[in-house]
């Protein structure tokens, strides 16, 4: 009994002309996006390699301790699976005067958009008349007049419909993947293919949410025309409005002072306040060495002062002690101020983190947001992927600095006249290489989103069964 219902539902959907139309539309769109994104990825990769090269040459020629940090700005290579989930494009990460603002007006199209917009629409259009259509043409009564329980009917209708959409999804995804594999300049290793498999699974769970929404509306309203309107309404609210509103609503609910205000405060703390504190600390030191003070004042310029001190030992070490005290007065001022600015920034960034967490929670009510974050993290172009890269970058920088310090210490032994801006040869420095996180790491990061998607599915399925049991046949 179960098999017949399933096959009938599947056949009913696949032989429907709309199925053909939609699969062609998705295949066509995916093919365009993949071909365009592939070129985009290749140009970006070449761009990345070019950058590494210029950086390497520059460092080999001009490396000096003072500006090693600026010279060696470690870059993130474009993630291979950015072909499927654009996530945060590399241009967006950098906040500069010359920026590509066109992406802001028209975000790029990718596989995630095809799923969240086109496939969820297919799900609704296929499922909105699953019960109401059959009850209007009398077949629902005919089926239920046989030994078919309502729960079994809901299961077979859900699985049959979803199977047809999954087939269409497999066809269009396969076309995309084959197109990429054909191009030999990019090789997808097992890690990527597994990630792609998980992305496929996530999209199936995402689409099933809207398939269930369509079925519930069909059972609830009982007439196909009003059920399609209701489900499209729910679709529009959850796909088009809530994800876009969530970051802004979060910023209203949980006020965080603007970053510019924070930076200004820090500037003042580190700037003017520190100078005042430092000056009055030095004043105390000046009182201790009154006579030394007027000598310094009377000396015209530095050379004269040095000559005077040379011949009077007592005065010289007094001057040295004086210099030392001034130095640690300034260090004390610096310490106090930086401690102050430290806890302000800790407080500020904890607030920001809490706001980000709140944004994620609010946006979790819309499956689109969950899906987008999960897939972009899975594809290595999302928020988690960036954080992962930053950790690796930090560790590498630490090891690099140790290397540089060791080299500088070695040079200092031999060359007395060493100063911070002198060229140092660090051609044999450790090379930075970044391999994307393996799938299990990415999966554990996206676990919370997957669970939310599953909970959505479960809740919707329960309401469906309750609703269909109450439906007047």
């Amino acid at each position: 009994m179960f098999k017949e219902l399933l096959i009938k539902e599947l056949a009913d959907k696949i032989f429907d002309k709309r199925f053909l139309w939609f699969t062609i539309l998705c295949m066509f769109t995916l093919l365009i996006t993949e071909s365009v994104l592939l070129n985009d990825y290749k140009t970006e990769r070449n761009d990345y390699n070019l950058r590494l090269l210029t950086q390497k040459e520059f460092i080999d020629k001009y490396a000096h301790e003072n500006r090693i940090g600026d010279m060696l700005d470690i870059q993130r290579p474009p993630a291979k699976l950015r072909l499927f989930a654009a996530g945060i494009s590399s241009d967006m990460e950098v906040n500069t005067f010359t920026n590509n603002s066109f992406n802001v007006l028209f975000p790029p199209i990718d596989f995630v958009l095809i799923i969240t917009v086109i496939y969820s629409l297919i799900a609704i259009l296929f499922s909105h008349n699953s019960f109401s259509g059959e009850s209007e043409n009398g077949t629902l009564r005919l089926i239920l007049s046989n030994q078919v329980s309502r729960v079994k009917l809901t299961i077979t209708k859900f699985l049959g419909g979803m199977l047809s959409i999954i087939i269409s999804l497999i066809i269009s995804l396969a076309i995309g993947v084959i197109y990429i594999l054909m191009d030999n300049s990019i090789s997808l290793d097992s890690n990527d293919l597994m990630a792609l498999g998980l992305i496929f699974l996530l999209s199936v769970f995402y689409i099933s949410i809207f398939y269930l929404v369509g079925m519930i509306c069909s059972a609830f309203t009982g007439s196909s025309s009003s059920s399609v309107l209701l489900s499209l309404f729910i679709w529009a609210v959850f796909t088009l409005t809530i994800p876009n509103l969530s970051p802004w609503v979060a910023s209203q609910l949980y006020r965080v002072p603007s970053i510019n205000k924070f930076e200004k405060e820090v500037k003042i703390i580190k700037g003017i306040e520190r100078d005042d504190l430092g000056r009055n600390l030095c004043k105390e030191v000046y009182e201790k060495y009154p006579d030394l003070l007027n000598i310094i004042k009377s000396a015209k310029d530095e050379k004269l002062l040095l000559a005077k001190l040379e011949n009077n030992i007592g005065l010289k070490n007094e001057y040295v002690a004086f210099q030392k005290e001034i130095a640690n007065a300034w260090d004390k001022a610096n310490a106090i101020q930086s401690a102050k600015s430290e806890n302000i920034s800790v407080d500020f960034f904890s607030k920001v983190d809490r706001q980000i967490a709140l944004t994620k929670e609010i946006s979790c009510i819309s499956p689109v947001a969950d899906f987008s974050y999960a897939v972009s993290d899975m594809a290595g172009s999302g928020i988690h992927a960036e954080a992962y890269f930053k950790d690796i970058k930090k560790n590498f920088e630490v090891s690099l600095w140790q290397f540089v310090e060791a080299r500088v210490a070695k040079i200092k032994k031999t060359d007395v006249m060493y100063d911070v801006n002198k060229y140092i040869d660090i051609k044999d420095r450790p090379e930075f290489s970044f391999r994307e996180e393996n799938v299990s790491g990415r999966f554990s990061a996206t676990l919370s989103y997957c669970i939310v998607l599953l909970v959505f599915n479960a809740l919707l399925y329960l309401t469906l069964i309750r609703q269909f049991n109450r439906m007047k046949v």
């Binding site: 709309r18 241009d91 975000p107 917009v117 025309s225 603007s258 200004k264």
Partner: protein, 416 residues
């Protein structure tokens, strides 16, 4: 006779379930958008007060325009803090997008986004079953069993349907305007009201385009289900696929370097100049600011030209879809568009040239009297140019073609 059809159309639609759903969706989305954008505008205004440069600090910043509520566009870039530093380099202050990355995932929900995507969704869906429902109900047969000319009915249907579509939009926008903008005392001058009226006019023309498209599909399709399905396909391709792929496709023609490469080149120039100066044991008279400035200008010039080239190609490709036409029109109208950003950047570069020949004292303030940075958004007259005409004519075309084709198709429409 047309008046009778219009009245009936209004009456029939206003009490229908479809209208209720549409009204709720529009009211909810339009007003949340206006509410959120006004709050954001206020926050950005305070931000401007914090960052406003004191007398002789080398900062370039301008205040956000109240029109960013309607079309946010690139206002964040325009209202950013640009500091002119050593050697004519332009550093930018950090933005909220940089901290909370989630902002980058989805478009800003300004009024333009809601109109562009949600209202066009309602318009085409609303119109897609106007004719097919009457046919399936059998009322079409009954109507044409009387001496009624076909155009009278189709014209009445068009006008009646369009009015029912526009009523909820105008009401929601008015409600939004009154509650969130006027009560919130947002500074609006008289010329702004004209601009606002033009904005609303564009919106009405845009939605009329989708409405006639939906009505045409309803005439040519066999059943309600088919007409709704086909209009959804048309909607998805016009609103999502074409505008969003235009940018990527344009990039294929002109290979534009990524922003990070430009950054690295810029910092390398700076470091190289300083390094050579120091290691040449101070022989040269001054730090070679001139060279740094000149090389920076060259890179920036080259990048901006390429960016403009990409933009103009992308603009041509995407202007087939009314959605991107509306985006270009409204962002240019509200002075938050691509053209405005370029204009602002040229002002900043000019300011940089001026700052260059002042030297700064110990903690960075400029010495001597120099006129601080000031910038006024482009006046309304600048808006009316050839590009605008092209976009607007495409929007009009999206109304005329379906109406004319629909007119002839309805003459042969099989009423049975």
């Amino acid at each position: 006779m047309i008046k009778l059809f219009i009245k009936k159309e209004l009456l029939e639609n206003i009490f229908s379930f479809k209208f209720l759903i549409m009204f709720l969706l529009m009211f909810f989305s339009l007003n949340t958008a206006i509410f959120i954008m006004t709050k954001d505008y206020k926050a950005r205004l305070q931000n401007y007060d914090i960052l406003k440069p004191s007398k002789n600090e080398a900062f370039a910043i301008t205040y956000p325009t109240p029109f960013s509520i309607f079309a946010h566009g690139l206002d964040d870039n325009i209202c950013n803090l640009y500091q002119i530093t050593f050697g004519g380099q332009i550093e930018t202050g950090s933005q909220k997008q940089a901290i909370n990355k989630i902002y980058n995932f989805f478009n800003t929900p300004d009024l333009l986004y809601i109109i562009n995507i949600i209202l066009s969704f309602c318009a085409i869906l609303f119109a897609s079953d106007l004719i097919t429902r009457e046919k399936e109900q059998g009322t079409l047969k009954l109507i044409f069993s009387n001496g009624i000319k076909r155009p009278a009915f189709s014209l009445g249907k068009w006008i009646g349907g369009y009015i029912t579509l526009i009523i909820p939009i105008v009401l929601s926008v008015l409600f939004g305007l009154i509650f969130f903008i006027i009560l919130a005392k947002i500074p609006f001058q008289f010329s702004d009201f004209i601009r606002l009226l033009i904005f609303l006019f564009f919106v009405l023309v845009y939605l009329a385009g989708f409405f006639s498209l939906g009505l045409f599909i309803s005439i040519v399709s066999r059943s309600s289900a088919f007409s709704m399905f086909f209009s959804l396909i048309v909607w998805v391709s016009l609103v999502f696929i074409i505008p969003r792929s235009g940018n990527l496709v344009a990039k294929q023609f002109i290979n534009i370097p990524s922003v990070q490469t430009i950054e690295i080149k810029r910092s390398q120039i700076f470091i190289k100049a300083i390094f050579e100066y120091i290691n040449s044991h101070y022989e040269k008279s001054k730090i070679p600011q001139g060279i740094i400035n000149q090389q920076n200008d060259k890179i920036r010039e080259d990048y901006l030209n390429k960016l403009n080239a990409v933009e103009s190609i992308a603009r041509k490709i995407t202007s087939i879809s009314p959605a991107s036409d509306l985006t270009f029109l409204c962002t240019d109208l509200c002075n938050t568009g691509f053209r405005e950003e370029q204009r602002f950047k040229t002002f900043v570069i000019m300011f940089k040239e001026q700052v260059k020949n002042f030297d700064s004292d110990s903690d960075g303030n400029l010495v001597g009297d120099f006129t601080p940075f000031s910038y006024a958004r482009s006046p309304l007259s600048d808006f009316f140019n050839l590009a605008m005409m092209l976009h607007f004519s495409i929007l009009i075309m999206y109304i005329l073609i379906p109406v004319i084709l629909g007119y002839y198709a309805f003459l042969k429409f099989d009423v049975r």
